[in-house]
Point group: C2
Chain length 406, copies 2
């Protein structure tokens, strides 16, 4: 017997028919003798509708009321799934965040889970009852409903699995696992049987939107084994686990990319101490996330060029901010380019192997792809290239690191 | 300064535009210096959608899960109205049933309010904040959400007004008050400035669906002054109050009717003690509500005919039940007729005046309308007539009791 937390996202519970199908998936685990707790998201589209209502009434809204409104989506699904389980003979009841309670801090709209009280859930699991928990929500100290931010139901599931000491947290979604690359682009991409938390985090932050990054962080911190699998197919997915669980570690686990990138270059900036702080201070204050930064060597020792990237959606704001600071920063010219993409090679194996980056640069050079910026971490090498070359780069790298399926 | 509870029903909060209009109505009372608490229903259509989901998943459902699902409609409206009020500068916050809490018994789906804790609401009212309370819902002893049954938000509002000792409970709806008769039928119907609780109860139970009967009972019991008024117009509605508040009491306050009636006659029933119990026992057990009962005088002293009415929607079930009992009841023939209507004359004034019923019978006879059954209470005379004569009867009676507008 194992203890399993199952999480079903919005498309998995999109309508009454899908909710009934989910009930069967839960029943199968129960019938296999497992103790099962379930976490659900709102039915697909419901949260967007509720957010639209809130913005329609009051665009600059009280986050506490926002939470009161948008948390209802998960409440509806929890009740409906409990009913669907009862209908097929599985003991079940719904649990709202405030009923358990799932205690959070009071950062309404993006709260963090502090603690989950599990005594009553434990008692019911032991009796064979399936708790169906509303994801995405909790209770703040002031007795008001909080929500965890978009995608927060993944975090609810991992936190519940940690609190219950579950053997596994199965995240059912509309993809059937984590791939070595986006299969829509790289036809030879393979589904990974296992991936480490660190690699998954890099994937998540690079736009492979399989799991919410915060839920992966939490799983890593609390040692929760997470499985990503399809709610449509009937096959194992990808296990996200600790490095120690992966016996044969590949050098590179996957190639990720992000098109939501924009490049900004300030030409002819004074090359003196403190200039970087002058540039990036106002951007940080305005909540603009700066990613790669490249400073070119100053030929005359007086001025230099500084290039950096921001999210494509932040470009207009970034340019505006910098132009307002022009007198202060004293740059000669501002050049921006939204037609760039970031391509990354990810793998914990590169910690112990040299030459991973070099092989990447060579492969791109062989295809005539110019590298505009580079950034690296312990388990990742990212390069910025012209967006038009994205697919070509992905396929070349996938092949060069031996990831292609047979 | 007065303390007012305002209740807005589903059509009053049907969309974002209507919710903003409601916020202005609340603001006007606040600006006039009053302390205001608001009770809201779900946006029109939402509850029906949720009930449909529940029935789609599990037709014979756990009422606790039903309550978990359908109570979300009022939660959404409460949050949205609080936001709309904040947007126009009125201090407001939403309150869910479990947050106040509004304690109920554990009869899920049709719970009754036991107690409302008001300390925190009192404190905030004193500070000028407007509590926006989700109607229709409460909290049972087992910490689960209950609902009060369809139309229950009226009851929530009256109960809150009683608990807060409010000077008035304003029920905003899509009609602008209580009329002497249905204005769609009787063109000369007048809006009543005041009506007593007892009369309103008779109206409600007779199909004039302005207020939920339970809310009127509660208002009467707790002495809450209720005003029914339009959320579209800007004029006073009808006050539902104690008899003592109405100085010049009319003989008759209104003429009500119900088309949802059916007549059943058992011909040739043995005329002996206990036969009525034999007939009506099984109907009561099957939750069929029997209204008027007429037993004809037995010509031979051996058999008699028994006629009674049930709701039209119960007719098929009633006939089925009685046919199954035929051997037991030993009647000669069963005759049923769904083409009947009940017309009632209502007024507390008839307590102290004789001849009200006689005037009714005469007026109907003058129009050639045959009376098929009669029932009376202290403040009401009802007759059963052929349904085709309903409009004719209503207009004739409205005129005969001097209710026509000039």
């Amino acid at each position: 017997m194992a203890r399993i937390v199952q999480k079903f996202g919005g498309t998995s519970v999109a309508d009454i028919g899908r909710i009934k199908a989910v009930a069967l998936k839960v029943k199968r685990e129960v019938d296999a003798g497992h103790q099962v707790a379930v976490v659900v998201s709102a039915m697909a589209g419901v949260t967007n509708q509720l957010v639209e209502y809130v913005n329609g009434v009051n665009p600059i809204h009280d986050a506490r009321e926002y939470d009161t409104v948008v948390s209802t989506g998960e409440q509806v699904t929890a009740g409906l799934l409990a009913l669907a389980l009862q209908e097929i003979g599985v003991q079940a009841r719904s649990w709202l965040g405030w009923q358990i309670p799932i205690r959070t801090d009071d950062a309404h709209g993006k709260a963090r889970i502090i603690d989950i009280e599990t005594d009553e859930l434990e008692r019911r699991l032991a009796l064979g009852e399936v708790p169906v928990v509303s994801g995405f929500q909790g209770l703040a100290k002031d007795n008001r409903v909080t929500t965890l931010g978009r995608g927060g139901s993944d975090t609810s599931a991992v936190a519940l699995a940690a609190a219950l000491g579950a053997d596994r947290c199965d995240i059912y979604t509309d993809v059937d696992g984590v791939y070595t690359a986006d299969p829509r682009i790289v036809a030879k991409a393979r589904k990974l049987a296992k991936i480490t938390y660190e690699e998954m985090l890099e994937m998540a932050s690079l736009g492979a939107k399989v799991l919410h990054a915060r839920s992966v962080e939490l799983a890593m911190k609390r040692g929760v084994r997470v499985q990503v699998l399809s709610s449509y197919k009937d096959e194992p997915g990808t296990l996200v686990v600790d490095e120690g669980e992966i016996v044969e570690q590949e050098l590179v686990s996957g190639i990720a990319y992000s098109r939501d990138e924009a490049k900004v270059t300030l030409v002819g900036v004074m090359d003196k101490p403190g200039v970087a702080a002058h540039i990036f201070g106002p951007l940080a204050a305005a909540n603009v996330n700066v990613d790669m930064i490249v400073q070119s060597v100053s030929p005359d020792g007086k001025t230099t060029d500084i290039t950096f990237t921001v999210a494509g959606s932040d470009l207009a704001r970034t340019v505006d901010l910098l132009e307002k600071q022009r007198d202060n920063l004293r740059y000669r010219k501002l050049v921006s380019d939204a037609g760039v993409a970031k391509v990354s090679v990810i793998g914990v194996g590169m910690r112990s192997h040299a030459g991973v980056a070099q092989r990447m640069f060579q492969a791109l050079a062989d295809k005539g792809i110019n590298i505009q910026a580079i950034s690296t971490s312990e388990i990742k090498v990212s390069v910025l290239i012209a967006e038009d070359y994205t697919e070509l780069a992905l396929r070349a790298l996938h092949s060069v690191y031996g990831l292609d399926s047979d």
